[in-house]
Amino acid sequence: MKQADDIIIDLVNPNARVLDLGCGDGDLLCRLRQTKSVTGYGVEIEHNRIEGCLARGVNVIEHDIDAGLERFPTNSFDIVIMNETLQAISEPRTLVREMLRIGEECIVTFPNFAYWQCRKQLFFGGRMPVSKHLPNEWYDTPNIHLCTIHDFDTMCASENVRVISRYVFNHNGRETIATKMFRNVLGVTAFYRLGRPS
């Protein structure tokens, strides 16, 4: 079974200059360095994750993404990655714009709020969905901007953002014919590789 990181690694070109927003303990950057010889930096705010990055020799910059990315110059990276963080950002649309200013391309992943299990909990239970991918109760969740695959597509269209490729995982971490056909119902996690308007 492919993990989310494997998909992202497939999407990154060798020797790319990478900025990983919300890089966690640096696992993805570490693997990208080993498999794709990338260079770059992680951006993180959680203290123990920053120490995790340092312990494995991954460049990490302590920075609050919500404070903006003005400090990163235009065109300074080949690719900007944001893995499962978009929904916790205060201004996700501005952030996607910023990612595509800083990098030639970007990779964004997020949990699909229209996944049928979420719909079921909301429809039959009448409560905000809680699952493996969205484990928090409504009152203590960092996920303040949850969206569906349709929502994200709509935003990309209105922003004139080019969708270079898209993968949708089902609950088994697989992309099947079914998830391709009914991605907004069967998709648990969405992966987008985005580019500037052509």
């Binding site: 920053i50 910059i61 302590e62 110059p73």
Partner: protein, 379 residues
């Protein structure tokens, strides 16, 4: 003595008889450097770490000079020792007193061989670049081709940065703590007031006070008081001096006044008794002049493109002498220069002084980074 102490250490002296040309063109016919080492140099000579000191620092960074006297503890003992962030089980740690200093290395209190009197105010103006060049000579003396890390806080961090630019092949990691890429106008203004306090002391005698009976103690003490306040934060001082007493009682008010006054005077006088006024002038001028971008058309990115070391930059939230924004300037320039860099901003109430303190998160960051270096040595 604590189990994680390097124990009792004895300073050593390295002598250099080849003349040393300084950046301003002056020549030192001879110089010596006082130094201490902690830990063992490995067989490949790859585990050496250089500690660069700040304005008032010296070679005695860790351990005791006298096992029975806690006052002889090194200035960065909380960070250097077996099991400490700069772990002497892993690294051969070298600390020295810079030229121009007043703790045994050649400086204004040393004998000027030309006139057979102390240099005094005739000692040539040193720069951060001069320190780095003399430290490189010192590394040759120790047989160290490249340092696993050059580490410094404040003015020490500036030396680490200069090392990475001037000797890229000899520094594998540069740790810049509570540092800045150059001095702000405000920084320079504070230094100038400190210098004026010394220069206007009636005992300064144009810097030739060593021959006279009395030293410019008042001026040096005042300079230190001013400097000391810039090392603390407003909130930290509130906490220290019980300024949170919000009563109208005049007695409480005078308690705060009295405590601040006696604290500052004690520190000023203590410092004036141990330090040399000419050295203080030299060190503050070296700070004012520090700007590695200057030789690169004022482009810090171009300057840092010469560096090949990996960098760790650390700032402290309440440091207003070299504020976090100044560290971020360095980090952003390093990113633009394509250098490997990590950055952490440590929450602390203690202002600029934080870099000397045992702040848990700060030490965990240093530990994680240094452990990774020592692991890379083993492979």
């Amino acid at each position: 003595m604590e189990a994680d102490s390097v124990g009792v250490v004895t300073p050593e002296c390295a002598e250099f008889n080849e003349p040393f040309k300084m950046e301003n063109g002056a020549m030192l016919p001879y110089f010596q450097l006082m130094y201490e080492t902690y830990g063992e140099l490995n067989a490949d000579r790859t585990n050496a770490v250089l500690i660069c000191h700040a304005l008032s620092g010296h070679h005695h960074a860790a351990g005791y000079h006298d096992a029975d006297d806690r006052r002889t503890l090194g200035w960065w003992d909380n960070c250097i020792g077996p099991g400490k962030p700069i772990d002497t089980n892993d690294f051969y740690v070298v600390a020295l007193n810079n030229i121009g200093g007043c703790h045994g290395s050649t400086g204004p209190t040393s004998n000027n061989p030309e006139i057979n009197e102390p240099y005094g105010s005739d000692f040539p103006q040193v720069t951060v670049g001069d320190w780095v060049n003399s430290q490189a000579r010192f590394a040759d003396y120790l047989g160290i081709e490249s340092f696993a890390a050059v580490i410094g806080g404040s003015l020490g961090g500036m030396q680490a940065m200069q090392w990475a630019i001037d000797y890229p092949d000899r520094v594998r990691n540069a740790l810049l703590i509570a540092c800045a890429p150059n001095l702000s106008a405000q920084n320079i203004a504070f230094n100038e007031i400190a210098r004026q306090a010394i220069l206007k002391d009636r005992n300064f005698n144009e810097g030739r006070y060593l021959a006279a009976a009395s030293k410019p103690m008042d001026g040096l003490g005042t300079a230190r008081m001013l400097g000391h306040v810039t090392y603390l934060s407003a909130d930290g001082m509130e906490l220290k001096f019980g300024g949170d007493v919000k009563s109208d009682d005049a007695a409480d008010y005078y308690d705060v006044v009295g405590e601040v006054t006696s604290y500052l005077q004690y520190n000023g006088q203590k410092f004036a008794g141990m330090f040399d006024a000419n050295t203080y002038l030299l060190m503050t001028h070296a700070l004012d002049q520090f700007d590695p971008a200057r030789s690169f058309d004022n482009d810090l990115v171009e300057a840092l493109k010469k560096a090949t070391a990996r960098f760790l930059v650390i700032s402290f939230t309440t440091d207003w002498r070299f504020a976090p924004e100044r560290s971020r300037e360095i980090v952003d320039a390093l990113i633009s220069a394509g250098c490997d860099v990590s950055y952490a901003d440590i929450e602390s109430l203690s202002g600029h002084d934080s870099f000397l303190l045992e702040i848990p998160r700060y030490h965990r960051i240093l530990t994680s980074y240094m452990k990774q270096i020592s692991e890379s040595l083993a492979t």
